[in-house]
Subunit: 214 residues, 2 copies
Amino acid sequence: MEERDVELITALVIKAMEGSKEKESYAVPIGVSARHVHLTGEHVEILFGKGYELTRKKELMGGQFASNEQVTIVGYKLRAMENVRILGPVRKKSQVEISATDAIKLGIKAPVRDSGDIENSAPITIVGPKGAIYLKEGCIIAKRHIHMAPSDARAAGVKNGEVVSVKAENVRGTTFNHVTIRVDESYTLEMHIDTDEANAAGIITGDTALIYKS
Amino acid sequence: MEERDVELITALVIKAMEGSKEKESYAVPIGVSARHVHLTGEHVEILFGKGYELTRKKELMGGQFASNEQVTIVGYKLRAMENVRILGPVRKKSQVEISATDAIKLGIKAPVRDSGDIENSAPITIVGPKGAIYLKEGCIIAKRHIHMAPSDARAAGVKNGEVVSVKAENVRGTTFNHVTIRVDESYTLEMHIDTDEANAAGIITGDTALIYKS
Protein backbone atom coordinates (compact mmCIF):
# COMPACT_ATOMS: atom_id res chain seq x y z
CA MET A 1 0.00 0.00 0.00
CA GLU A 2 1.38 3.41 -0.88
CA GLU A 3 1.82 6.18 1.63
CA ARG A 4 -0.76 8.46 0.05
CA ASP A 5 -3.30 5.62 0.29
CA VAL A 6 -2.56 5.37 4.00
CA GLU A 7 -3.05 9.11 4.44
CA LEU A 8 -6.30 9.05 2.48
CA ILE A 9 -7.66 6.09 4.42
CA THR A 10 -6.63 7.60 7.74
CA ALA A 11 -8.53 10.77 6.88
CA LEU A 12 -11.58 8.73 5.86
CA VAL A 13 -11.49 6.68 9.06
CA ILE A 14 -11.23 9.81 11.21
CA LYS A 15 -14.14 11.40 9.35
CA ALA A 16 -16.27 8.26 9.70
CA MET A 17 -15.55 8.00 13.42
CA GLU A 18 -16.32 11.66 14.01
CA GLY A 19 -19.57 11.19 12.16
CA SER A 20 -20.52 8.31 14.43
CA LYS A 21 -19.86 10.41 17.52
CA GLU A 22 -21.50 13.57 16.26
CA LYS A 23 -25.15 13.68 17.13
CA GLU A 24 -27.48 16.27 15.76
CA SER A 25 -29.39 18.18 18.40
CA TYR A 26 -32.39 20.49 18.30
CA ALA A 27 -33.43 22.91 21.03
CA VAL A 28 -36.87 22.59 22.62
CA PRO A 29 -38.47 24.82 25.29
CA ILE A 30 -39.87 23.01 28.32
CA GLY A 31 -43.30 23.43 29.90
CA VAL A 32 -43.85 22.04 33.40
CA SER A 33 -47.32 20.58 34.06
CA ALA A 34 -48.62 20.64 37.63
CA ARG A 35 -51.27 18.10 38.66
CA HIS A 36 -54.54 18.75 36.80
CA VAL A 37 -57.87 17.30 35.76
CA HIS A 38 -59.62 16.94 32.39
CA LEU A 39 -63.40 16.52 32.52
CA THR A 40 -66.30 15.59 30.27
CA GLY A 41 -69.10 18.15 29.90
CA GLU A 42 -71.37 15.82 31.89
CA HIS A 43 -68.86 15.64 34.75
CA VAL A 44 -68.46 19.45 34.79
CA GLU A 45 -72.23 19.67 35.37
CA ILE A 46 -72.17 17.06 38.15
CA LEU A 47 -69.32 18.88 39.94
CA PHE A 48 -70.38 22.50 39.35
CA GLY A 49 -74.13 22.40 38.65
CA LYS A 50 -76.52 21.94 35.74
CA GLY A 51 -75.58 23.97 32.66
CA TYR A 52 -72.22 25.02 34.14
CA GLU A 53 -69.35 25.69 31.76
CA LEU A 54 -65.64 26.04 32.56
CA THR A 55 -64.34 29.63 32.52
CA ARG A 56 -60.96 30.61 31.05
CA LYS A 57 -58.15 31.69 33.34
CA LYS A 58 -55.16 31.29 31.00
CA GLU A 59 -54.70 30.12 27.41
CA LEU A 60 -52.44 27.06 26.95
CA MET A 61 -51.04 25.33 23.86
CA GLY A 62 -53.15 23.72 21.17
CA GLY A 63 -56.41 25.42 22.11
CA GLN A 64 -56.35 24.23 25.70
CA PHE A 65 -56.85 26.53 28.68
CA ALA A 66 -56.41 26.53 32.44
CA SER A 67 -59.85 27.15 33.91
CA ASN A 68 -60.68 29.16 37.02
CA GLU A 69 -62.36 26.06 38.43
CA GLN A 70 -60.61 23.76 40.89
CA VAL A 71 -61.51 20.46 42.57
CA THR A 72 -60.36 18.25 45.41
CA ILE A 73 -59.15 14.77 44.51
CA VAL A 74 -59.32 11.84 46.94
CA GLY A 75 -57.58 8.48 46.58
CA TYR A 76 -58.83 5.11 47.85
CA LYS A 77 -56.93 5.55 51.12
CA LEU A 78 -59.13 8.65 51.54
CA ARG A 79 -56.21 11.04 51.48
CA ALA A 80 -57.12 14.29 49.72
CA MET A 81 -55.37 16.90 47.59
CA GLU A 82 -57.04 20.30 47.33
CA ASN A 83 -57.05 23.05 44.69
CA VAL A 84 -56.38 20.85 41.67
CA ARG A 85 -56.81 22.89 38.48
CA ILE A 86 -59.19 21.81 35.68
CA LEU A 87 -57.94 22.15 32.09
CA GLY A 88 -60.44 22.92 29.34
CA PRO A 89 -62.05 22.44 26.94
CA VAL A 90 -64.09 19.40 28.02
CA ARG A 91 -62.98 15.99 26.71
CA LYS A 92 -64.61 12.69 25.83
CA LYS A 93 -63.20 11.09 28.97
CA SER A 94 -62.36 12.51 32.38
CA GLN A 95 -58.78 12.04 33.53
CA VAL A 96 -56.60 13.06 36.48
CA GLU A 97 -52.87 13.66 35.93
CA ILE A 98 -50.65 13.64 39.02
CA SER A 99 -46.93 13.28 39.76
CA ALA A 100 -45.35 10.17 41.31
CA THR A 101 -44.82 12.24 44.49
CA ASP A 102 -48.56 13.00 44.54
CA ALA A 103 -49.34 9.29 44.01
CA ILE A 104 -47.24 8.40 47.08
CA LYS A 105 -48.95 11.12 49.14
CA LEU A 106 -52.40 9.97 48.02
CA GLY A 107 -51.40 6.34 48.57
CA ILE A 108 -52.42 5.24 45.08
CA LYS A 109 -50.68 3.29 42.35
CA ALA A 110 -51.02 5.40 39.24
CA PRO A 111 -49.29 4.11 36.08
CA VAL A 112 -47.04 6.22 33.81
CA ARG A 113 -49.18 6.67 30.67
CA ASP A 114 -49.73 8.81 27.61
CA SER A 115 -52.63 11.23 28.06
CA GLY A 116 -55.90 9.50 27.11
CA ASP A 117 -54.55 5.99 27.75
CA ILE A 118 -56.44 5.37 30.99
CA GLU A 119 -57.53 1.73 30.70
CA ASN A 120 -56.88 -0.02 34.03
CA SER A 121 -55.31 3.11 35.50
CA ALA A 122 -55.93 4.09 39.14
CA PRO A 123 -59.39 4.88 40.55
CA ILE A 124 -59.90 8.39 41.96
CA THR A 125 -62.69 10.55 43.34
CA ILE A 126 -63.14 14.13 42.15
CA VAL A 127 -65.05 16.48 44.43
CA GLY A 128 -66.59 19.77 43.29
CA PRO A 129 -68.81 22.37 45.04
CA LYS A 130 -72.05 20.80 43.73
CA GLY A 131 -71.22 17.11 43.59
CA ALA A 132 -68.62 14.34 43.30
CA ILE A 133 -67.70 11.69 40.74
CA TYR A 134 -65.91 8.40 41.26
CA LEU A 135 -63.68 7.36 38.35
CA LYS A 136 -63.14 3.59 38.40
CA GLU A 137 -60.13 4.32 36.21
CA GLY A 138 -58.63 7.64 35.07
CA CYS A 139 -55.75 8.62 37.33
CA ILE A 140 -52.33 8.51 35.62
CA ILE A 141 -48.82 9.91 35.85
CA ALA A 142 -48.36 11.62 32.48
CA LYS A 143 -45.58 10.27 30.31
CA ARG A 144 -43.34 13.08 29.13
CA HIS A 145 -43.52 13.99 25.45
CA ILE A 146 -42.73 16.71 22.94
CA HIS A 147 -45.38 18.58 20.97
CA MET A 148 -44.35 20.09 17.66
CA ALA A 149 -45.78 21.37 14.39
CA PRO A 150 -44.85 19.55 11.14
CA SER A 151 -42.40 22.35 10.29
CA ASP A 152 -40.55 21.82 13.61
CA ALA A 153 -40.46 18.08 12.95
CA ARG A 154 -38.86 18.64 9.55
CA ALA A 155 -36.31 21.04 11.02
CA ALA A 156 -35.48 18.61 13.85
CA GLY A 157 -35.41 15.64 11.49
CA VAL A 158 -37.92 13.63 13.52
CA LYS A 159 -41.31 12.04 12.86
CA ASN A 160 -44.57 11.68 14.74
CA GLY A 161 -44.23 8.80 17.22
CA GLU A 162 -40.45 8.78 17.11
CA VAL A 163 -38.70 8.27 20.45
CA VAL A 164 -35.82 10.60 21.31
CA SER A 165 -33.62 11.60 24.25
CA VAL A 166 -33.63 15.13 25.65
CA LYS A 167 -30.68 16.58 27.54
CA ALA A 168 -31.09 19.43 30.02
CA GLU A 169 -27.83 21.11 31.00
CA ASN A 170 -27.52 22.67 34.45
CA VAL A 171 -26.01 21.86 37.87
CA ARG A 172 -27.99 18.61 38.06
CA GLY A 173 -27.68 17.67 34.39
CA THR A 174 -30.32 15.18 33.29
CA THR A 175 -31.05 13.29 30.09
CA PHE A 176 -34.65 12.18 29.65
CA ASN A 177 -34.76 9.03 27.52
CA HIS A 178 -37.86 7.42 25.89
CA VAL A 179 -39.43 10.77 24.99
CA THR A 180 -42.12 10.50 22.32
CA ILE A 181 -42.52 13.09 19.57
CA ARG A 182 -46.11 14.15 18.83
CA VAL A 183 -46.62 16.13 15.65
CA ASP A 184 -49.81 18.10 14.92
CA GLU A 185 -50.64 21.30 13.05
CA SER A 186 -52.16 22.73 16.25
CA TYR A 187 -49.06 22.12 18.37
CA THR A 188 -46.48 24.67 19.45
CA LEU A 189 -42.95 23.36 20.01
CA GLU A 190 -42.74 22.36 23.68
CA MET A 191 -41.64 19.43 25.83
CA HIS A 192 -44.07 18.60 28.62
CA ILE A 193 -42.71 17.26 31.88
CA ASP A 194 -44.30 17.01 35.32
CA THR A 195 -43.28 18.72 38.56
CA ASP A 196 -41.21 15.73 39.75
CA GLU A 197 -39.18 15.72 36.55
CA ALA A 198 -38.77 19.51 36.70
CA ASN A 199 -37.72 19.55 40.35
CA ALA A 200 -35.38 16.57 40.00
CA ALA A 201 -33.69 18.07 36.96
CA GLY A 202 -33.59 21.69 38.18
CA ILE A 203 -35.85 22.87 35.34
CA ILE A 204 -38.50 25.60 35.27
CA THR A 205 -41.00 26.43 32.52
CA GLY A 206 -39.25 28.26 29.69
CA ASP A 207 -35.91 26.49 30.13
CA THR A 208 -34.50 24.91 27.00
CA ALA A 209 -33.21 21.37 26.45
CA LEU A 210 -31.68 19.58 23.47
CA ILE A 211 -33.36 16.78 21.51
CA TYR A 212 -31.03 13.95 20.47
CA LYS A 213 -32.13 11.05 18.27
CA SER A 214 -31.92 7.89 20.40
CA MET B 1 -4.73 -0.50 -3.80
CA GLU B 2 -5.29 -4.24 -3.82
CA GLU B 3 -8.60 -5.85 -2.99
CA ARG B 4 -7.30 -7.60 0.13
CA ASP B 5 -6.08 -4.24 1.41
CA VAL B 6 -9.57 -2.84 0.96
CA GLU B 7 -11.09 -5.77 2.89
CA LEU B 8 -8.56 -5.45 5.66
CA ILE B 9 -9.10 -1.71 5.96
CA THR B 10 -12.89 -2.10 5.88
CA ALA B 11 -12.68 -4.56 8.77
CA LEU B 12 -10.40 -2.20 10.71
CA VAL B 13 -12.71 0.77 10.14
CA ILE B 14 -15.75 -1.22 11.31
CA LYS B 15 -13.91 -2.37 14.41
CA ALA B 16 -12.73 1.15 15.18
CA MET B 17 -16.23 2.57 14.79
CA GLU B 18 -17.77 -0.12 16.99
CA GLY B 19 -15.15 0.64 19.59
CA SER B 20 -16.03 4.31 19.57
CA LYS B 21 -19.70 3.52 20.16
CA GLU B 22 -19.11 0.93 22.83
CA LYS B 23 -19.05 2.44 26.30
CA GLU B 24 -18.04 0.50 29.34
CA SER B 25 -20.70 0.39 32.02
CA TYR B 26 -20.76 -0.70 35.66
CA ALA B 27 -23.86 -1.51 37.68
CA VAL B 28 -24.61 0.41 40.87
CA PRO B 29 -27.49 -0.08 43.34
CA ILE B 30 -29.48 3.04 44.19
CA GLY B 31 -30.45 4.31 47.63
CA VAL B 32 -33.16 6.95 47.86
CA SER B 33 -32.70 9.57 50.61
CA ALA B 34 -35.78 11.20 52.08
CA ARG B 35 -35.44 14.65 53.68
CA HIS B 36 -33.33 14.47 56.84
CA VAL B 37 -31.28 16.39 59.36
CA HIS B 38 -27.70 16.09 60.66
CA LEU B 39 -27.00 17.69 64.04
CA THR B 40 -24.07 18.64 66.25
CA GLY B 41 -24.03 17.15 69.76
CA GLU B 42 -24.73 20.60 71.15
CA HIS B 43 -27.80 21.01 68.95
CA VAL B 44 -29.10 17.55 69.95
CA GLU B 45 -29.01 18.74 73.57
CA ILE B 46 -30.80 22.02 72.74
CA LEU B 47 -33.56 20.16 70.86
CA PHE B 48 -33.95 17.10 73.12
CA GLY B 49 -32.57 18.14 76.50
CA LYS B 50 -29.27 18.27 78.42
CA GLY B 51 -27.21 15.06 78.06
CA TYR B 52 -29.54 13.60 75.43
CA GLU B 53 -28.07 11.22 72.84
CA LEU B 54 -29.61 10.05 69.55
CA THR B 55 -30.93 6.47 69.65
CA ARG B 56 -30.48 4.02 66.77
CA LYS B 57 -33.48 2.98 64.69
CA LYS B 58 -31.73 1.57 61.61
CA GLU B 59 -28.10 1.17 60.52
CA LEU B 60 -27.13 2.95 57.30
CA MET B 61 -23.98 2.94 55.17
CA GLY B 62 -20.57 4.08 56.35
CA GLY B 63 -21.36 3.96 60.08
CA GLN B 64 -24.37 6.27 59.82
CA PHE B 65 -27.76 5.46 61.32
CA ALA B 66 -31.35 6.66 61.14
CA SER B 67 -32.29 7.73 64.65
CA ASN B 68 -35.64 7.35 66.36
CA GLU B 69 -35.69 11.10 66.87
CA GLN B 70 -37.58 13.44 64.58
CA VAL B 71 -37.94 17.21 64.33
CA THR B 72 -40.12 19.80 62.63
CA ILE B 73 -38.41 22.17 60.20
CA VAL B 74 -39.73 25.67 59.47
CA GLY B 75 -38.67 27.95 56.59
CA TYR B 76 -38.58 31.74 56.62
CA LYS B 77 -42.11 31.93 55.22
CA LEU B 78 -43.06 30.06 58.43
CA ARG B 79 -44.30 27.01 56.57
CA ALA B 80 -43.50 23.80 58.46
CA MET B 81 -42.63 20.20 57.66
CA GLU B 82 -43.16 17.64 60.42
CA ASN B 83 -41.56 14.30 61.25
CA VAL B 84 -38.18 14.94 59.63
CA ARG B 85 -35.76 12.16 60.59
CA ILE B 86 -32.38 12.85 62.22
CA LEU B 87 -29.38 10.87 60.96
CA GLY B 88 -26.61 9.98 63.40
CA PRO B 89 -23.92 10.07 64.54
CA VAL B 90 -23.58 13.77 65.43
CA ARG B 91 -21.50 15.94 63.09
CA LYS B 92 -19.35 19.05 63.36
CA LYS B 93 -22.02 21.14 61.65
CA SER B 94 -25.80 20.84 61.60
CA GLN B 95 -27.38 20.53 58.16
CA VAL B 96 -30.86 19.99 56.70
CA GLU B 97 -31.23 18.09 53.40
CA ILE B 98 -34.50 18.52 51.53
CA SER B 99 -35.77 17.91 47.98
CA ALA B 100 -36.53 20.69 45.48
CA THR B 101 -40.23 19.84 45.94
CA ASP B 102 -39.82 20.38 49.70
CA ALA B 103 -38.04 23.68 49.04
CA ILE B 104 -41.00 24.90 46.96
CA LYS B 105 -43.46 23.78 49.65
CA LEU B 106 -41.43 25.49 52.39
CA GLY B 107 -41.00 28.57 50.20
CA ILE B 108 -37.21 28.60 50.53
CA LYS B 109 -34.39 28.79 48.02
CA ALA B 110 -32.06 25.92 48.91
CA PRO B 111 -29.04 25.40 46.63
CA VAL B 112 -28.00 22.01 45.16
CA ARG B 113 -24.83 21.18 47.10
CA ASP B 114 -22.54 18.38 48.20
CA SER B 115 -23.18 17.31 51.79
CA GLY B 116 -21.16 19.54 54.14
CA ASP B 117 -20.90 22.43 51.67
CA ILE B 118 -23.37 24.71 53.42
CA GLU B 119 -21.77 28.17 53.11
CA ASN B 120 -24.44 30.69 52.08
CA SER B 121 -27.08 27.96 51.84
CA ALA B 122 -30.66 28.61 53.00
CA PRO B 123 -31.59 29.50 56.60
CA ILE B 124 -33.90 27.10 58.43
CA THR B 125 -35.34 26.58 61.90
CA ILE B 126 -35.27 23.14 63.53
CA VAL B 127 -37.78 22.49 66.30
CA GLY B 128 -37.47 19.67 68.86
CA PRO B 129 -39.48 18.74 71.96
CA LYS B 130 -37.19 20.68 74.31
CA GLY B 131 -36.04 23.60 72.19
CA ALA B 132 -35.40 25.10 68.79
CA ILE B 133 -32.37 26.22 66.80
CA TYR B 134 -32.14 28.74 63.99
CA LEU B 135 -29.51 27.91 61.36
CA LYS B 136 -28.47 31.06 59.50
CA GLU B 137 -27.23 28.69 56.80
CA GLY B 138 -27.48 24.89 56.54
CA CYS B 139 -30.42 23.92 54.35
CA ILE B 140 -29.42 22.33 51.02
CA ILE B 141 -30.73 20.06 48.28
CA ALA B 142 -28.21 17.22 48.26
CA LYS B 143 -26.27 16.74 45.04
CA ARG B 144 -26.47 13.14 43.89
CA HIS B 145 -23.29 11.09 44.14
CA ILE B 146 -21.95 7.55 44.21
CA HIS B 147 -20.22 6.03 47.23
CA MET B 148 -17.80 3.19 46.61
CA ALA B 149 -14.90 1.35 48.20
CA PRO B 150 -11.47 1.50 46.47
CA SER B 151 -12.03 -2.04 45.14
CA ASP B 152 -15.28 -0.97 43.44
CA ALA B 153 -13.52 2.05 41.96
CA ARG B 154 -10.82 -0.18 40.48
CA ALA B 155 -13.43 -2.56 39.05
CA ALA B 156 -15.46 0.32 37.58
CA GLY B 157 -12.32 2.06 36.28
CA VAL B 158 -13.12 5.35 38.04
CA LYS B 159 -11.37 7.57 40.58
CA ASN B 160 -12.40 9.62 43.60
CA GLY B 161 -13.87 12.92 42.41
CA GLU B 162 -14.48 11.69 38.87
CA VAL B 163 -17.76 12.78 37.27
CA VAL B 164 -19.82 10.13 35.47
CA SER B 165 -23.27 9.60 33.98
CA VAL B 166 -25.68 7.02 35.35
CA LYS B 167 -28.45 5.49 33.26
CA ALA B 168 -31.58 4.00 34.82
CA GLU B 169 -33.62 1.86 32.44
CA ASN B 170 -37.39 1.64 32.95
CA VAL B 171 -40.59 3.09 31.46
CA ARG B 172 -39.37 6.64 32.14
CA GLY B 173 -35.71 6.05 31.27
CA THR B 174 -33.43 8.67 32.78
CA THR B 175 -29.72 9.42 32.57
CA PHE B 176 -28.29 11.37 35.50
CA ASN B 177 -25.29 13.40 34.33
CA HIS B 178 -22.70 15.21 36.51
CA VAL B 179 -22.63 12.45 39.14
CA THR B 180 -19.55 12.59 41.38
CA ILE B 181 -17.73 9.45 42.50
CA ARG B 182 -16.69 9.39 46.17
CA VAL B 183 -14.27 6.67 47.17
CA ASP B 184 -13.61 5.70 50.79
CA GLU B 185 -12.72 2.47 52.60
CA SER B 186 -15.87 2.84 54.74
CA TYR B 187 -18.23 3.15 51.76
CA THR B 188 -20.51 0.48 50.35
CA LEU B 189 -21.27 0.73 46.62
CA GLU B 190 -24.42 2.85 46.31
CA MET B 191 -25.70 5.85 44.38
CA HIS B 192 -27.59 8.34 46.53
CA ILE B 193 -30.47 10.26 44.98
CA ASP B 194 -33.29 12.20 46.60
CA THR B 195 -37.04 11.55 46.46
CA ASP B 196 -37.59 13.95 43.54
CA GLU B 197 -34.99 12.16 41.44
CA ALA B 198 -36.39 8.77 42.44
CA ASN B 199 -40.00 9.70 41.69
CA ALA B 200 -39.17 11.47 38.43
CA ALA B 201 -37.12 8.52 37.19
CA GLY B 202 -39.40 5.73 38.48
CA ILE B 203 -36.72 4.40 40.84
CA ILE B 204 -37.02 2.83 44.29
CA THR B 205 -34.25 1.89 46.73
CA GLY B 206 -32.52 -1.29 45.57
CA ASP B 207 -33.00 -0.63 41.86
CA THR B 208 -29.84 -0.79 39.78
CA ALA B 209 -28.47 1.69 37.27
CA LEU B 210 -25.41 1.73 35.01
CA ILE B 211 -22.40 4.00 35.42
CA TYR B 212 -20.96 5.38 32.17
CA LYS B 213 -17.83 7.46 32.01
CA SER B 214 -18.83 10.93 30.80
